[in-house]
């Protein structure tokens, strides 16, 4: 068919890895990971609607060490994807597009994601 002979992107194999490229892939990977979190949100809402017994089951899963670890991972994915999403929105206005600005905002996004994840879990431990 005509479609199969046309050039296709992204060409992952032909580039040397560099920082902003890694962040770009990480945006996609974190987005895909958050789709799993979205299924989790649907599961939690269904449990809350399903009555006390199902809610207690869900809370037990989320409160366990494995549930906590997964939630911690989702928190990091969320903050990375959200902050990098804002970075993309700024780019869409035509700002910060040159190499050095992109590198700086990338460092900011990674640092911000780690910091906000730590702050969120600190707050969780203090509340809970």
């Amino acid at each position: 068919m005509a479609g199969s002979v046309r050039p296709l992107s992204p060409h992952l194999g032909v580039y040397r890895w560099y920082f902003t490229m890694g962040l770009s892939i990480a945006h996609r990977v974190s987005g895909a990971g958050l789709v799993v979190a979205l299924v989790g949100l649907a599961w939690w809402l269904a449990a809350l609607a399903g009555g006390p017994a199902r809610y207690a089951q869900a809370q037990a899963v989320l409160g366990g060490w494995l549930g906590g670890l997964v939630l911690l991972g989702f928190t990091l994915l969320f903050f990375y994807h959200a902050l990098n999403g804002v970075r993309h929105l700024v780019w869409d206005t035509g700002r910060n597009l040159d190499k050095h600005a992109a590198h700086r905002s990338g460092v900011l996004v990674v640092a911000g994601a780690v910091l906000l994840t730590l702050l969120t879990w600190l707050a969780l431990l203090l509340v809970g």
Partner: protein, 134 residues
């Protein structure tokens, strides 16, 4: 450039080739929708995060009462609808980039749309059930 001497069949051949390779002209709409959902998710995410932290480990009655409040019901419905649309658009881009066999791609795209609609609707039903207290 078409010249007066070009035959109708040759022109048709070019038209068919262009048709096969051209965009569907829906790119701008999709692009805007990706940005609009991303933008809407900024305040909704802040609300969700603050709520999740303050609600962590809450007993059943408290969690139900929280979600049944009109503000939280509205915010959760907005979040769910916008989030599933954002996720649907994102997964579609991933499928379009990596799945190149046309029938498989079409099936994956349809599956993405169906799954987003079904799961999103399930969330809406759950939220409404809680909001209406049944």
């Amino acid at each position: 450039m078409a010249t007066p001497t070009s035959t109708p069949t040759a022109t048709q051949g070019v038209a068919a080739r262009v048709q096969a390779q051209a965009s569907t002209r829906r790119g701008a709409k999709t692009w805007l929708r990706e940005r609009a959902t991303a933008l809407a998710l900024v305040p909704l995410s802040v609300w969700f995060l603050l709520s999740a932290v303050s609600l962590a480990g809450a007993p059943y009655a408290e969690a139900r009462a929280w979600l049944a409040g009109p503000f939280n019901t509205t915010a959760m419905l907005l979040l769910v609808v916008v989030l599933f649309e954002h996720a649907r658009l994102g997964v579609r881009v991933i499928v379009e980039d990596y799945v190149h066999r046309e029938p498989v791609k079409l099936a994956a795209l349809l599956l993405t749309d169906f799954a987003a609609a079904a799961l999103g609707l399930a969330c809406v039903v759950a939220v409404l059930k809680i909001a209406l207290g049944s």
